[in-house]
Symmetry: C2
Subunit: 125 residues, 2 copies
Amino acid sequence: MSQASLASNARVGDAAPLFAALGDKTRLRLLYRLSSGGPGSITHLSADTPVTRQAITKHLRVLSNAGLVKSSRRGRERVWDLEPKRLAEAHEYLDRISQQWDEALDRLKEFVENDPVAEPPGASR
Amino acid sequence: MSQASLASNARVGDAAPLFAALGDKTRLRLLYRLSSGGPGSITHLSADTPVTRQAITKHLRVLSNAGLVKSSRRGRERVWDLEPKRLAEAHEYLDRISQQWDEALDRLKEFVENDPVAEPPGASR
DNA sequence: CTATTGTGCAACCATAAGGTTGCACATCGA
DNA sequence: TCGATGTGCAACCTTATGGTTGCACAATAG
């Protein structure tokens, strides 16, 4: 079994949801907003974006499902904030993947340097 | 800039495509496949998956657009492989984000410890 | 030459995703 | 109490996404 791979086999399906949650610029912007500006209500958060409050609500729900943010009611407002625990988990996750990429790149170098793919000399056309 | 945020402001829209490309389990599996099993043709790569060759083709194209894989023709076959350079870039990227998360988490702690439900600056109306 | 194998392309489908509008309802201020 | 403000829900629209099937075409094996 080779050990250097882009994701450990067992968790490969685990990473996708996290990446998917991060794979939208509006959501990344929201995370940025929360991390730099602190917690905020929906209307507050949507004030900076070109999209509607409703859209923001949906995105927050996605982030919430991914465990990246949490919300709490405060009077008639609902305040959203980053979720430290999950965020730390995701953080570790990215670190691990990052490290595995490193190893994968090493293997890749060997590939290229040693024996590409036994390329047939006249393979072009 | 000593500001701790989840993503640097200017690049926030840059990360999304990468994450989006990684946000699918079939594609992650493909990357895993390529990183552990080395390069392979489409039919070869799709032999291990429950989906059709055509679906794999599409996924490879997505990964290719994200710069994570590259392909080269070899006779009548087309061999796909990881793209080292871009992969390294993405690697750095994840590292950077990972680090920023770390900083963001620090700020988060202060939030919680100092002022539980602090009003974001400028929240008055 | 002919059959086989490997790709590529295109059409098509179902569902999810991102977004909008509209409206009901809760809560706060005066 | 009444109006203003903040949310939540639901319907709806458009486009992307993930997937399939079918077929044409290139290249290789006999």
